[in-house]
């Protein structure tokens, strides 16, 4: 089975950008509450991120789910690794693990 062609596109995004959020809509105009929640958390933590609007790219919207074996969007990637969806990022933020995880990955955080 040849690899899903959209995987190349996804791999390129997650390898070229330290923090990537696959979401519905954009950070300024999120089109889904869960996506908006993750944007809010990343803003609070003060981390720069690249966003990819899966509503603009239906093949990425489906491909990302197979890529990470995760059935929903949003999906956050840090240094090429799938970090989680809304529930996990929210839980990590509430326990302070998110900042620790980002620091461990060498991601710069702007002072709040």
């Amino acid at each position: 089975m040849s690899e899903n062609p959209v995987f190349e596109r996804i791999k390129q995004e997650v390898n070229d950008n330290p923090v990537v959020l696959f979401m519905k809509g954009s950070p300024v105009f999120p089109q889904c509450g869960f996506s908006a929640a993750v944007v809010q958390i990343l803003t609070e933590v003060g981390v720069k991120f690249k966003s990819v609007d899966v509503l603009m790219e239906p093949d990425v919207r489906e491909g990302i789910k197979a890529f990470s074996n995760w059935p929903t969007v949003p999906q956050l990637y840090v240094k090429g690794e799938f970090a989680g969806g809304c529930d996990i990022i929210r839980e990590m933020h509430e326990t302070g693990e998110l900042k620790q995880y980002l620091n461990e990955k060498g991601i710069e955080l702007e002072a709040a």
Partner: protein, 76 residues
């Protein structure tokens, strides 16, 4: 498309041995639930892996028939 709360609980229990599931229909529309799943099968697994186990148990319904499931997993 929606799912019954008991159907979700049954699928998770069938898919994850010894799972205890508490579920809440957040909006009464069968589409937005929150669930807390506790199982010894989660021991030693990351949160992402634990949630993937639950999604697997839901046999493809997650993100399809079931639009939103606010999920929390833990080991007893």
């Amino acid at each position: 498309m929606a799912m019954e709360a008991q159907e979700i609980v049954r699928l998770i229990k069938d898919g994850i041995p010894g799972a205890e599931v508490t579920i809440e229909d957040l909006r009464g529309d069968g589409d937005h639930y929150s669930a807390h799943v506790v199982s010894t099968a989660f021991a030693g697994k990351s949160r992402v892996q634990q949630h993937q186990m639950v999604y697997q148990a839901l046999q493809g319904n997650m993100g399809d028939a079931l639009h939103a499931l606010a999920l929390q997993t833990s080991v007893p």
